[in-house]
């Protein structure tokens, strides 16, 4: 009863939040200045009748509320619309970019979480040591530099200077795969994709790892002063057992709730990283669609992104419910 109710509650709120989010996106984006007809605004070869015909065809001559109604109706039918610019269903357009974003974000997220949590635990355990001081300094230093600058630095260093210095290896400065790699067969292509993934992933992940471990470190330092840690030691547990069996799981609870938040941050960071590394992700696509007023695409991308964020949040909260027995059984 407890956990089920808890999950039901979270699901309900997630659904409400999702609905509110897409509504806000729809209206905000439609009332800001500019409209898709301006795609052709400066193109003298498109005459007024054609523009009007386009607007009518896209349903943009309808009043806003009606557009909203149609948008919602289509949404419930799983139809995100037809991209004005790409001349493809939005689902297809997103379908092409989403896997790359998921690859980048997902890998980064998993690495962040796993490495970050363990690094944080390790650093907290050795708090006050040189390692800890080093960590704190690194964290502050890395956080002080804008992410895109780090990205540029990595490109210059690992894509160009290593070649110039003749180190024998380098990482590509752009893209997600080599052109033509689709004809190489599975494994070479996989290696190619990973090779291209390396730089953006590293930049994104270092920031993430530092953030997560910083959070974890703070939690663990607090947890280590709790009474049950004393009890555990009095039982005769060695330090590792105390850390990983008793302190770790408690310290990880707030970290888990942080997942949702960090997904939002990841997406924000990913737009920058995708641009710097010319990575074909949803963030970059969204950015382009935004400045071109491609309404359906923007809405679609936003629905996907907010859906992902909410999903992450939901999963985080459900995981929380599972690992914290207090929520599970009450």
């Amino acid at each position: 009863m407890g956990l089920r109710g808890y999950i039901a509650k979270k699901l309900f709120f997630a659904a409400v939040a999702f609905f509110v989010a897409i509504t806000i996106v729809f209206f905000l984006y439609h009332v800001i200045p500019g409209n898709p007809a301006n795609i052709f605004a400066t193109d003298r070869t498109v005459n007024p009748d054609q523009r009007d015909a386009l607007l009518e065809r896209w349903g943009l001559n309808e009043p806003l509320w009606k557009q909203y109604g149609i948008f919602l109706r289509n949404l419930f039918q799983g139809d995100l619309g037809f991209s004005y610019l790409q001349k493809m269903p939005v689902t297809d357009v997103i379908g092409e970019s989403l896997p790359w974003t998921l690859l980048l974000l997902g890998t980064s997220f998993v690495l962040n979480a796993v490495i970050g949590i363990f690094l944080g635990a390790f650093v907290a355990w050795r708090r006050g040591s040189k390692l800890d001081t080093g960590f704190v300094l690194t964290y502050n230093f890395y956080n002080a530099i804008p992410l895109f600058f780090v990205g540029m630095l990595f490109i210059a260093l690992f894509s160009f200077y290593v070649r110039k210095w003749g180190w024998g290896f380098y990482f590509p400065a752009y893209g997600a795969q080599t052109a033509g790699s689709s004809e190489w067969g599975f494994f070479p292509r996989l290696v190619d994709i990973l090779w291209h993934l390396a730089l953006p992933l590293t930049v994104l992940t270092i920031a993430g790892i530092l953030g997560w471990s910083w959070f974890m470190r703070g939690n663990l330092i607090n947890i280590l002063t709790e009474d049950y840690i004393k009890t555990a030691r009095a039982k005769g547990l060695n330090e590792n057992q105390v850390l990983y069996k008793h302190a770790f799981r408690n310290a990880i609870l707030p970290v888990v709730t942080n997942i949702g938040m960090s997904i939002g941050g990841l997406i924000g960071g990913a737009v920058l990283i995708e641009t710097v590394f010319s990575y074909p992700g949803t963030g970059r696509m969204l950015y382009e669609a935004l400045i071109r007023h491609d309404y359906p695409l923007v809405q679609g991308a936003f629905i996907i992104i907010s859906g992902l964020t909410l999903l992450g949040l939901l999963i985080a909260e459900i995981i929380y419910g599972f690992i914290d027995p207090r929520i599970r059984t009450e």
Binding site: D227, Y228, K230, T231, A234, K235, N238, P325, E330
Partner: protein, 351 residues
């Protein structure tokens, strides 16, 4: 024959404002099957004393001096001690040639096999002493896993169930999480955890303070029965003299890091020697007997970074003499114990 003997134990906490002499020259003995009550106000060093015995003093605390002689210590000495991280931090001498029974000379690894196995500790259990994310049974079983790794899982679980039933918890609750247990049950579970591996000594730190009176009485009763059943040696730390009166046989009163009086419980209750003990006993309200006026000790406990010279109690003592503020009293033997007070030292000298 004492099972545990603490000799001149000094534990200081090094802070920026100076060293806090939390435990200063404390000595006492604990016999087999004896229950020692360690009483005093909060901050007087009773918990630190016991954590020193367990060697669980954390930075910035340090055991400066003294000996903790544990009779069965040789059972755990390993042949090839290696220095662990904590050993290095606390500068423990583990490579000594001649091993004694002094626990302070033990390595961290050896201490680990003493903790929970030979000497176990019960903390204040109301809220925090049980890990909220593990099942109670598993937390108890963990002790067995560490100290008796050869034990089968089922056997260990049976043992856990046994001990839980012994302390008065229904065996089905073993699969519960701490937050599902009431305060009294949590405390019982903690006691079960301390007892599950048949230790020689149990140190109980304020075991019933946070409990309601009726539950307190129930838990104390269970504790007493268990102590008799297993013939345990116990150190009971509490600020509540009535709890001590109920359970203990020997009483040690601490004040400001010092042991001011030590002796047989009945004797001390009937005829307390140290003015502090007298005041303490008179300050306790009682429900039994006619209503009596309570004695107000007056004043406030001293700051241990900067303790008063001489006898540390003299600023609050109603029987203070000039010498009290100048010189520290030594331990004067009394019936079955000793007291640290100039009143009796003078008498001794006079004799």
């Amino acid at each position: 024959m004492a099972l545990l003997e603490v000799k001149n134990l000094k534990t200081y906490f090094h802070t920026r404002a100076g060293s806090v002499k939390a435990v200063d020259n404390v000595s006492f003995k604990l016999g087999k099957g004896e229950v020692l009550g360690l009483a005093g106000e909060s901050g007087c060093g009773k918990t630190t004393t016991c954590l020193s015995i367990m060697q669980m003093i954390d930075f910035p605390g340090e055991i400066m001096e003294g000996q903790i002689i544990y009779e069965n210590a040789f059972e755990v000495i390993t042949e090839n001690p290696s220095k662990s991280f904590r050993d290095r931090i606390f500068n423990r001498n583990v490579e000594n040639k001649k091993r004694t029974k002094n626990l302070l000379e033990f390595s961290e690894a050896e201490m680990r096999s003493i903790r929970g196995n030979h000497i176990s500790m019960v903390f204040q259990g109301a809220m925090n002493a049980l890990n909220p994310v593990h099942r109670v049974g598993n937390q108890i079983q963990e002790v067995l896993n560490i100290h008796e790794p050869e034990l089968e899982k089922d056997e260990a679980w049976d043992k856990v169930i046994d001990i839980l039933e012994t302390v008065g918890i229904d065996s089905v609750r073993a699969r519960d999480y701490p937050h599902q247990l009431s305060g009294g049950m949590k405390q019982r579970a903690l006691i079960a955890m301390a007892l599950v591996n048949n230790p020689d000594i149990v140190i109980a730190d304020e075991p019933v303070t946070a409990l309601d009176v009726i539950v307190q009485a129930q838990v104390l009763k269970a504790t007493k029965e268990l102590q008799r059943k297993f013939d345990l040696s116990m150190i009971m730390i509490t600020h509540d003299l009535s709890v001590i009166a109920e359970v203990c046989e020997t009483l040690a009163i601490m004040y400001a890091g010092k042991l001011v009086e030590y002796g047989d419980l009945r004797t001390l209750f009937k005829e307390p020697f140290h003015p502090y003990t007298q005041a303490l006993i008179n300050a306790f309200p009682s429900i039994a007997g006619p209503k009596k006026d309570l004695y107000d000790i007056g004043g406030f406990p001293p700051d241990l970074r900067n303790p008063p010279s001489g006898c540390r109690f003299h600023p609050r003592c109603s029987k203070a003499m000039p010498i009290c503020s100048k010189k520290e009293p030594s331990n004067t033997p009394i019936k079955n114990g000793y007291v640290a007070c100039w009143l009796y030292e003078e008498e001794e000298k006079r004799k």
